[in-house]
Symmetry: C2
């Protein structure tokens, strides 16, 4: 549908989007690449390259139409759809995801939680039911889950990923501090806290 876009650009798009939504709510019609660049500490040229990659071209001397740019980025990021999430692991990280306040405005809905703890199974967290992990297949099919969010300990992450893939899920967000393997038709994004922390300690110890 679209040409592939670099990861760096893809990661900047939600930042542009957040700002554009604020401008849109305020009733602003146009925004310049210079204003967007100032906001994110990049050059206006980088902004123009990013936005031409998503098929949006500003008008010279005027800028970008806020509504059109907003809708364009939402469409590229797939945010015109509703996304149905399952969270596997109802520990603290799982709960943080389940209660994440910004999900609704991005059309992300947590529709099922899975755990192996019998004390949790059958209870609700933030209005969402906790199911027995052993029943993953049936629940994923009934609830039409698009994305599995893994928040279990590292040593169970691959097992959980395998079960999600077996249930037909094509998108996985992995919070477990473990590299997991997935087949080529499954999209995996890692959110490894230890990698973030060690990036920081690397930089701090260079000072």
């Amino acid at each position: 549908m679209f040409k592939p876009i670099s990861n760096a650009t893809i990661e900047r798009l939600p930042l542009y989007l957040r700002f554009l939504r604020v401008l849109d709510v305020k009733g602003r019609d146009v925004v310049s690449s210079v204003e967007l660049a100032d906001m994110f500490e990049i050059t206006p040229e980088q902004v123009r390259r990013d936005l031409s990659d998503v098929g949006q071209f500003g008008i010279k001397g005027v800028g970008y139409e806020v509504k059109i740019l907003r809708r364009g980025i939402e469409k590229i990021l797939g945010l015109q759809y509703r996304w149905s999430l399952a969270v596997i692991g109802a520990g603290e990280f799982g709960r943080a995801i389940i209660e994440f306040k910004d999900f609704p405005e991005y059309n992300f809905n947590v529709n099922a939680i899975f755990d192996v703890d019998e004390k949790l199974i059958g209870t609700k967290i933030n209005g969402v039911k906790v199911y027995d992990f052993a029943k993953l297949n049936a629940v994923v099919e009934r609830k039409i889950i698009d994305i599995g969010v893994i928040t279990v300990p590292a040593d169970r992450a691959q097992l959980v990923a395998d079960a999600l893939i077996d249930a037909g899920i094509k998108g996985i967000l992995n919070f477990a501090p473990k590299k997991i393997a997935v087949p080529p038709d499954v999209h995996l994004v890692n959110a490894d806290i230890l990698i973030k922390m060690t990036t920081l300690t690397y930089r701090l110890s260079q000072d």
Copy 2:
């Protein structure tokens, strides 16, 4: 001290390290670039480039000495030091960080928690005291905090970052879904869940 290393390499180092620690515990003496490459689905050439960037050179036909490589990566990432963390925001994300099981083996210690909720101030989470955010300066000085972890809502993130910087903290890990500004002498790493999620929905909607 060392030449600058690319972000991509820095983000692979903790993955190598985790595997090397397992090998070390098992008593393995050497590991080849091919074995490391297989583990992380990259080429042996990439492994050798990464490791030569951190000053470690394997022996042709033999490989890398596990203990030496492990210590080398730990040193590059600053893990020979103990890092003292403060978590600002005792919500679900904050609690997830405070209880993060892998921190101790990386020498990361949460030594203070800050919140504005009077019901939480004075209590302990995982043995760590929750302080009034208004007392940040004094507590950071007394506890010698190196890194501030921001887990407050987006609209308070910049205010919290400013307070951390004002208290002399040079390293910030930001979980709030908000781009925050820091001066050049402060290291900021962002862990934005929404960016991870939209990277995934972008890829899923390309299928």
